[in-house]
């Protein structure tokens, strides 16, 4: 091999080119999701794939996995043309996929999950050889540097981070050359693997990735976290609107440059400022006294008109449960809530919505949306009676107009309001949930992790929306694990610990470190969450 001047797009030698995709096209119902996309993966590289939600990342991965058929694609593995028609084909070609969602079997042990796709070692060909299974599991885990998990532990008892590690170990087992031989696994596709991991767990994962890279594998790493890209990746491919914007080596790029490529514009500010004429007033909008449920204990605070109130705390501190108590999704055991000076009488979410509360839950897929139904149906769900004729008979025209109006307000990208929500990207799904919350100009808006899993561009849209609705007088309570977001958007932040309110801080001049320290209290910061 001779060294030559690096060409503009590096053309690697054939021997090191593990995967080569060109001309990938895919459209859903005539809407292009991927246009002439290309991708190369070389042996021994970590290749980041980034883009906003809806840019086509998931579509590309699904084509690689063989779970979706392309309108057209040319794909080659190690120079051999391949045509994946089902998941098994991709598996046989040596591709492994690690998804963000945990699809482990919670009732089985670590060892059983690690070997889930394999034949368990047996005695007499019938009985599971448990001792050998556990030994092999320990070996695999050790290879990955995971020493704190025992093969016999039940999956459900593990933290989400540990469960993710088990899943990765499972993909690694498949790679065991002794079993795979000629078809040795060479390509790992990881989709947001650190989403549920703590910093130390993420660091462990990065070590594993380094080891895989050193052994000559290629890793396609999909993420929203730019800091991880600079920490891990060798090259990065940027997608926007289904097209590949560029594929560049990581050296010489900056975060700002990547954001520009992803969004197609410069992001001057991550958090839009409060409008000049919007002031937090003295008027108390929501007065919460000694609110107690099974998960929170005696929480009291006030929310003022035009205020954005953040809620911070570690996971399990009762942040989500505070919002659930306010929207009346959880049973309130004690305490009072008054809205505009009058006691909130609601006993169910339905009544809470009717009294002017609105809620964006934490999990948009399982708690937010009815995925089988249209955008319009989802937006209008809490407001149906309001929109209907005589409160009973559906007024389809009015529903469509309202939801079209709201979709526009949240800058939702879709074929139309009758499109089913399962077809939307994550960001657009979240915008649908927002559109629902805004539709009747609520007095109080409860937001739980409003930008989780949402890309940079859509985040900015959502922040702008929050500012807009807040300027109209709506009080907002916002739970988030993204501390810069809380500091950037909120006027004050409530800090919860073990279900109790321990601090209330002004955000002016507050730093991320100070906030984090307040969340942890006197605990050591060994288990702090991965920074964003």
């Amino acid at each position: 091999m001779t060294m030559v001047h690096p060409p503009p797009t590096p053309a690697p030698a054939e021997s090191t080119l593990l995967l080569h995709i060109t001309g990938a096209n895919k459209a859903y119902h005539g809407i292009p999701a991927l246009v002439d996309a290309s991708l190369t993966l070389r042996a021994g590289e970590v290749h980041a794939l980034i883009g906003e939600n809806g840019a086509g990342k998931s579509t590309l991965i699904k084509l690689m996995a063989g779970v979706l058929s392309a309108d057209s694609i040319a794909m080659a593995v190690r120079g051999q043309p391949v045509n994946f028609r089902e998941a098994r084909d991709a598996f046989d070609a040596g591709l492994r996929f690690i998804h963000q969602e945990l699809n482990a079997v919670p009732t089985l042990s670590v060892a059983e999950n690690v070997f889930l796709n394999q034949r368990y070692p047996t005695r007499a060909g019938v009985f599971v050889h448990w001792r050998r299974l556990h030994r092999q599991t320990r070996d695999v885990l050790a290879q990955l540097g995971i020493t704190h998990l025992a093969p016999g532990q039940i999956m459900a008892r593990l933290s989400p981070g540990d469960q993710m590690l088990v899943k990765i170990a499972s993909a690694f087992v498949d790679a065991n050359p002794s079993a795979a031989g000629e078809r040795a696994v060479a390509i790992y596709v990881m989709d947001e693997p650190t989403a549920a991991l703590s910093t130390s767990e993420a660091a462990r994962l990065f070590e594993v990735i380094d080891r895989l890279r050193a052994s000559g594998c290629a890793i396609l790493y999909v993420t929203h976290r730019l800091d991880e890209i600079f920490q891990l990746a060798d090259r990065v491919t940027v997608l926007r609107d289904g097209r590949v914007v560029d594929c560049v080596p990581i050296e010489g790029t900056t975060a700002a440059g990547l954001i520009r490529m992803m969004t197609g514009r410069d992001l001057q500010q991550v958090y839009p400022p409060r409008g000049p004429d919007v002031q937090v007033s003295e008027r108390v909008l929501l007065d919460v006294r000694e609110l107690t449920t099974r998960a929170i204990h005696g929480v009291s605070f006030q929310l003022y008109e035009n205020e954005i109130l953040g809620v911070a705390g570690l996971s399990g501190a009762g942040r989500t449960e505070l919002l659930r108590a306010l929207i009346r999704a959880d049973r309130v055991l004690a305490g009072t809530v008054s809205l505009n000076g009058a006691a909130l009488q609601a006993r169910s979410p339905a009544e809470a919505w009717d009294q002017g509360m609105a809620y964006v839950p934490e999990e948009r897929r399982s708690q937010g949306l009815v995925l089988s139904r249209s955008i319009s149906d989802n937006i209008t769900l809490p407001h149906l009676r309001h929109l209907a004729r005589r409160g009973t008979f559906l007024n389809h025209g009015r529903e469509r107009r309202t939801s079209a109006e709201m979709s526009e307000a949240v800058r939702l990208k879709a074929e139309g309001v009758t499109q089913a929500t399962w077809q939307l990207s994550g960001g657009n799904q979240q915008k649908t949930v927002f559109a629902r919350a805004f539709a009747r100009s609520p007095q109080i808006l409860l937001l739980d992790e409003p930008t989780r899993g949402v890309d940079v561009g859509a985040k900015f849209d959502i922040y702008t929306l929050i500012r807009k609705i807040n300027a109209q007088g709506t009080g907002i309570i916002m739970v988030s694990s993204d501390l810069p977001e809380l500091i950037g958007m909120c006027d004050r932040i409530l800090i919860l610990r073990d279900g109790a309110l321990v601090h209330t801080v002004q955000t002016e001049a507050l730093t991320e470190n100070e906030l984090l320290t307040l969340c942890y209290g006197e605990l050591s910061d060994d288990n702090q969450p991965a920074s964003h």
């Binding site: 080659a76 120079g79 043309p81 999704a329 979410p349």
Partner: protein, 338 residues
């Protein structure tokens, strides 16, 4: 480029074709199947199958099943089942029959029958939505209860003869005279009219009201519906009450058609109603039940029984074919969904 994977233009157009066929199959496969069945019987029995008289007959034959299937659709929109509808229909028939035998007015007997249906549905609803027993177990329990009650109230005997007023038995046989077609007297049976009314009401409830939209939301994602301001428990309760009333209407229609009340005469309705809803669900892209599609399912079952009888196919073979066609329809729809 060092590698040049082969062009896949052929594959593209071929796949495009497959996708279009698959969608067509998914949406209209069951309808196409129905048309094929009808065309086949028309070809085999040109004189007696494809005429007004026979179709009027078929509508009357499926009228009772139609009512139960329509209200069963409401429950199945919620992803629930009501297994008790068959024995409920029997029990309501027995209640009305007993009252009639004991000399109560027809209106009183029918009214109390409907009330019993609503009460039984309320029991199912409370068990499922407030006590949170799975619908399968809860309605399996009430199925047995209603069966026992029907046998207990009737003492196990069939109520027939003079106990059933002629007004009621004539109703089950009569209809509105429409005219003479091909030398045959055509009447629109009263039972068919009842079913049409029930069908229209259920269609309005499911497709045109806030209530129906919320039911579909619950069926799609119960938790999201609750957090989105839907009173899930109350709505589920109401769905079961409606299902109970549908079963009661069917039970009374049976008494009218059979001119007798037997403690087990409605038991077979449940399985066929569920089969009809499933047949209809094959026509929905999201796998949601819709009442008009359910009616197609009901008609398929009715036309098969009618046509196969006309072709003098042995009963056992009829059952094998009917079951096979149901399995085939659902298989085709789930294959094309992949």
């Amino acid at each position: 480029m060092t590698t040049s994977p082969q062009a896949t233009d052929d594959a593209r157009s071929w796949r495009g074709g497959r996708v279009r066929w698959a969608r067509l199959f998914r949406q209209f496969g069951t309808l196409i199947g129905f048309i094929v069945i009808v065309a086949f019987f028309s070809w085999q029995k040109p004189d007696t199958f494809m005429n007004v008289r026979n179709w009027v007959n078929i509508t009357q034959q499926v009228s009772i099943l139609g009512v139960v299937a329509a209200t069963m659709t409401i429950v199945m929109v919620l992803n629930d089942f009501d297994l008790s509808v068959g024995t409920m229909a029997s029990m309501v028939g027995i209640v009305a029959g007993t009252l009639l035998r004991d000399g109560y007015m027809l209106g009183v007997a029918l009214g109390l029958g409907l009330l019993v249906g609503a009460g039984g549905g309320l029991l199912n609803g409370v068990l499922v939505s407030y006590i949170r027993i799975s619908p399968f177990v809860a309605t399996l329990g009430t199925l047995t209860m209603f069966n026992g009650l029907a046998l207990y109230i009737s003492g196990g005997t069939t109520i027939f003869g003079r106990a059933i007023p002629t007004a009621l038995s004539d109703f089950g046989r009569g209809g509105i005279y429409l005219g003479i077609v091909d030398g045959q007297r055509i009447t629109l049976p009263y039972l068919t009219i009842i079913t049409l009314v029930v069908l229209i009401v259920v269609w309005i409830v499911l497709e045109q009201t806030v209530f129906g939209r919320r039911l579909y939301a619950i069926g799609g994602n119960m938790e999201a519906a609750r957090l989105g301001g839907v009173r899930v428990r109350m709505l589920r309760l109401m769905a079961f009450v409606i299902s109970g009333m549908g079963a009661a209407i069917a039970g009374l229609m049976l008494v009218s058609r059979l001119a007798s009340a037997n403690p087990t005469q409605g038991d077979g309705l449940m399985l066929r109603a569920i089969a009809a809803v499933f047949l209809g669900m094959t026509m929905s892209e999201e796998g949601e039940p819709h009442v008009l599609a359910t009616m197609l399912g009901v008609l398929i079952l009715g036309v098969l029984a009618n046509g196969l009888t006309q072709m003098q196919i042995d009963t056992y073979i009829q059952q094998i074919l009917t079951g096979g066609i149901i399995v085939l329809a659902v298989t085709l729809s789930s294959l094309s969904r992949r």
